[in-house]
Structures are given as C-alpha cells and as structure tokens.
Symmetry: C2
C-alpha cells in the first residue's frame, strides 16, 4: 500500500507522528483534512512542508494565527 | 513503488497530467517543486488541491497572480 505517515513539526523542530497510514489529504484554506486507510480523520491548522512519497513520509507544520 | 502522478487542473476543470511518478514535493511560498523518481524536476506556481495516495493521484491548481 502506498499510504504515508504524517509527521508534525513541533516548536523545537522535532517530527512527531501525527497520523499514520494516510491516504487522503485535502487542504481547505489554512486547514488540512487527513484521512488514513483505517478511515480515521484528523483536521489541523497546518500546511505541508515536504513530502517524500517513496519514503512514505509527509511533514506538516502548524499555521500560527 | 509509491510515487504518484500529479495532475494540473486546467481552466475548464480537466485534469492534465503534469508530472508522472512524483516522489518529492516541496512547497516554497506560492511555488511547488516536484521531483519524480527519474530525477526530473518541475516548478510551478500552484497549490495542492487534493491527494489520494493509495490511488497514486495528486491534483494541483495554479495560483493566479
């Protein structure tokens, strides 16, 4: 399967696993809607920082208000 | 392999293949830098509209100045 793990950058620059096995990502304004292959959904005010699909890795970072 | 095809929405809402077998995407301001598994690189003023990784499918749309 070709899902990816999504990591959230914390304030110290560490990558924290936010949601594993993500299939779908829908950006909506400042928000990302993530859905994984287990039909778990998560919403977060964040943007995509980098994606490396062959490594199954997506890094996101929060958008500060 | 878990790369994805990137489709660009045209003005009529059709999805045109923009780059196949994309591994890496780096958003930089209003620009996306795409790199595929053949080390082809493309830059475009666009944003991600939707991603469906299990379907190997990413749709982007141009950002109008």
């Amino acid at each position: 399967m070709c899902e990816a793990n999504v990591y959230l950058l914390d304030e110290d620059g560490n990558e924290i696993l936010f949601l594993e096995a993500v299939d779908k990502i829908l950006p909506e304004g400042d928000q990302l809607c993530l859905e994984n292959i287990f039909y778990e959904k998560k919403y977060i005010n964040a943007k995509i920082k980098e994606m490396a699909l062959v490594d199954h890795r997506i890094v996101i970072e929060r958008i500060r208000a």
